[in-house]
Symmetry: C3
Subunit: 123 residues, 3 copies
């Protein structure tokens, strides 16, 4: 079984659509999106929210989880950085995790094949 990896992107909600298109373009087969609140806690620098400078507290963010195997992690990171970057504080973070196993519930398939597109696995 090839390595399965989760890329977790925490970024501005307004970047979701652009990120989705960027992932689609590189062949990502799925993603899971959660509304979260993010908190900077950083020593003195401020994030601008709705035109006002705020001492970074709990601001609405979006968490996007993308599990990949065929698509290289580096490609996902590059596309996500390009889609989410504004250059300002609050652009967000990406965390990468290794995954022990994956299952496609519809078919019961396990491992790398579980996250591949069925069109590609039946070739």
């Amino acid at each position: 079984m090839r390595e399965i990896t989760k890329v977790e992107i925490i970024t501005r909600p307004e970047k979701l659509e652009e990120l989705k298109e960027a992932m689609n373009a590189i062949g990502v087969t799925g993603m899971t999106v959660t509304q979260v609140y993010g908190c900077g806690l950083s020593k003195g620098h401020k994030e601008v929210y709705r035109g006002k400078e705020v001492t970074v507290n709990l601001l609405p963010k979006v968490k996007i989880e993308i599990v990949v195997c065929e698509v290289p992690v580096e490609k996902v990171l590059d596309a996500a950085k390009k889609a989410c970057r504004t250059g300002n504080i609050g652009d967000g973070k990406i965390f990468v995790y290794s995954i022990a196993n994956a299952v496609r519930i519809r078919t019961g398939e396990e491992g790398d094949i579980a996250i591949m597109d069925p069109k590609d696995t039946t070739k």
Copy 2:
């Protein structure tokens, strides 16, 4: 310390109750549920949502996280597949992660014992 594992199930919201009962039946001691949005991004196949075929976009899904140690991971996967499977696209995915440590906040206990039922650990 025995191995601690997280099983993360992303499936249809209407399957939550059935899944909860299935987990209870095999001795799972807890679970955490998050409302999420899922996105298929698959090449051309469509998921049916509320009787309409939609090009898979952001559909409401539910994420269930279950951390186990005593209960074998295979048993959790089998029960989850049985509970969540309809045979149609959109049934969802299961991802398995290995966990480095666990803590029961009430008592401070760490490791496998932190996720065991107190009734079993005080025997």
Copy 3:
């Protein structure tokens, strides 16, 4: 690259503020908060919710994710236990995961430096 670790705390929503202050005090540079529902499934013991004893079902909880590198994991666990503990069932759990990589989207920095405070990395 030094080890990067995620500490995931699932606890009572009313403990969020205290936890945030405790994390700030030990130098944690960020956190991500998700509203979740928690489920005990435990054999017979009950959790008190809004003054009523309930057979533990889906109760509102809060999940706090904290990724650290410089701040020792043990320090995070100790501060979280102190902040979230009431001594009653339902205080919650902490799960610890190892992380393969981290990226600061604003700058593209990867690894431990991605979660350090910029004030410290530019010294």
